[in-house]
Amino acid sequence: MTDQAYNFAYLDEQTKRMIRRALLKALAVPGYQVPFASREMPMPYGWGTGGVQVTAACLTPDDRLKVIDQGADDTTNAVSIRRFFQRTAGVETTEHTAEATVIQTRHRIPEQPLSEGQILVYQVPIPEPLRFLEPRETETRKMHELEEYGLMHVKLYEDIARHGEIATAYAYPVKVEGRYVMDPSPIPKFDNPKLAGNPAIQLFGAGREARIYALPPYSDVVSLDFEDHPFTASKADHACDLCGSATSYLDEVITDDRGTRMFVCSDTDFCASRQAQGHRGRLSPQGDNKP
């Protein structure tokens, strides 16, 4: 049931139109951060207000929405945002990646490859990849204008000089279509390869910072690296203890006070689907094992 006091998907049509204009501009200039008149939402800044505004502007009554946080459908903030749209838009929701037409995510890209017609909406805390190198927006905008990314390369080089590798494990910067350096939001760098050539539309919303950017389907997205230090997508060197997947991104769970750990898929839908198909991991309840 929707809340009659508010417009479909909460935002008024004028606001949605404003956001859609920003989205179209963002899709036309992939990786470029489009300023938009971000609204105050009924959840706090930093909790996905950018993603929520983008989702609200994209939703139609026929959509099927999936919301994940850390890859999981049942984390509290994912529950809260899903409920928000159930209440204000009355759209169908799902936990299955393949069934969703719009997926709002925080910090992960689903394991199952997306397809054409799907929209992936990212919640973005700090949209500016250069922010921690240069705190001033007036400066970083100029740097993007002039394609002046030397500072970023120096930072990555200093990482290698100091640590022997690029010491960025998440929110790993990418270059889009050979032009803009873009922050992929704080996804683990394991997910970076999925940004490139993705058949789905990828939209990024940063509410507090009032920026929208986008990757149209099949965009060219390259994680920054050096020839002699190529980018590698890394994850915990284990298989999922529940579904046995050796290729999915894993959460580490501490199971007692003696340091015992287990590793489970961060993508709950992926893990549950595999288990339903009969895949078993090291700690699955006993039964037929089909790793």
Binding site: A37, T75, T76, H107, T138, E165, S234, L250
Partner: protein, 360 residues
């Protein structure tokens, strides 16, 4: 044994039900009403209206009740409500010179047209806990005097007549709307003032205080501080006239700042300005000091590197709803990022240990 955590939904519902109970407190104690908060917690209501950018004492009082007295949470409730309201027009600029003042003081002139009106103020009270208030009971009524039937012109206007203060030419450019357009820098003074008017009181106070202590000093005098009600008028294009739709209470502060002149400007007094909804003099004075500090460029002063002079720093961090949201979001799950960091730190430690061994 770990089982995938389900039950987030139930936990949220239960937590909110508990919160509602906590808000009510001991049911044996009578419940606060919204009118009680509106009337007896008026300064809290004013702060919520000012920082929420919505003039509605009843809604602000409701927000305070709902927020259990957490004023930033109350401001948030008001902002989230405000954003859903249609914007159907703008009033004419309010005329603060025509304000029906409850309080009007000048620190620069002993007496002046319109007089010094102390009004309801904490100033000169001794901050001794009044235990009689705890006991309740009737209040002796305050003495009354007839209203002074004379205009109350602005002090800065009096200085202006002698050419002693910088001119402020009338500017009819429509003010930008921070709530409808993204903040782009550099900002105009109008936009800065708009941001400061809804800025966090504590943040604005600290910045203003820092200028007094030398971080971007502006030598401010309170030329005038006035609190009172002004009429809000709206043009009706169909009728070709403006009608009064109500009154709002405002606090206005004009600072007069010593200025020795610069490369571009002669020696004269300069201005800082603060205007806040409701009665909120700490905020209005703070705002005018910060406004003046931010004007260094326009007045040809040097940038001393002080936070209060730094427009981008001030405007990006003055909004408490943005600050509190982003600050508090770090309690949301970050398992995925933390896992990525764990892997990285473990790998780097392994490599460091190997290098150490190789060296030995």
């Amino acid at each position: 044994m770990y089982v995938a955590v389900k039950g987030g939904e139930r936990a949220i519902d239960a937590a909110h039900a508990w919160l509602a109970e906590e808000r009510r407190g001991d049911p044996a104690i009578p419940e606060l009403t919204v009118p009680q908060i509106r009337e007896q917690m008026a300064l809290a209501v004013n702060r919520v209206m000012a920082e929420g950018s919505l003039y509605d004492p009843d809604l602000a009082a409701l927000a305070i009740k709902q927020a259990r007295g957490d004023l930033i949470e109350a401001v948030f409730l008001i902002r989230a409500y405000r954003t859903t309201l249609p914007r159907f027009g703008a009033s004419r600029p309010v005329d603060t010179a025509a304000m029906a003042v409850d309080r009007r003081i000048s620190a620069t002139f002993k007496d002046l047209p319109g007089g010094q009106v102390l009004g309801p103020t904490f100033d000169y009270t001794h901050r001794l806990l009044d235990f009689a208030l705890a006991a309740g009971g009737e209040l002796p009524s305050a003495p009354q005097a007839p209203a002074r039937d004379e205009p109350v012109p602005h002090v800065t206007g009096l200085l202006d007549r002698d050419g002693l203060i910088e001119e402020q030419p009338r500017d009819d450019t429509p003010a930008p709307d921070l709530t409808r357009q993204p903040l782009e820098l550099p900002a105009t003074r109008a936009l800065r003032l708009q941001a400061l008017a809804r800025a966090d009181e504590g943040f604005t106070l600290s910045l203003a205080y820092s200028t007094q202590r030398g971080y971007g000093r502006t030598h401010a005098f309170v030329g005038e501080l006035r609190i009172g009600r002004v009429a809000v008028e709206v043009e009706l294009p169909e009728l070709g006239l403006a009608v009064e739709i109500g009154e709002i209470e405002l606090t206005e502060c004009d600072t007069v700042n010593q200025f020795k002149g610069s490369k571009s400007e002669p020696p004269q007094f300069t201005r800082g300005y603060g205007l806040v909804m409701g009665q909120s003099e700490r905020k209005a004075i703070s705002m005018s000091l910060v406004d003046r500090a931010l004007r260094w460029q326009e007045l040809g002063e040097d940038f001393a590197g002080a936070p209060a002079q730094d427009e981008e720093f001030v405007l990006s961090h003055c909004d408490n709803i943005q600050s509190t949201g982003f600050l508090e979001h770090i309690k949301l799950p970050h398992y995925v990022d933390f896992q990525a960091e764990l892997e990285l730190v473990r790998r780097m430690r392994r490599e460091a240990a190997q290098m150490q061994e190789a060296a030995e």
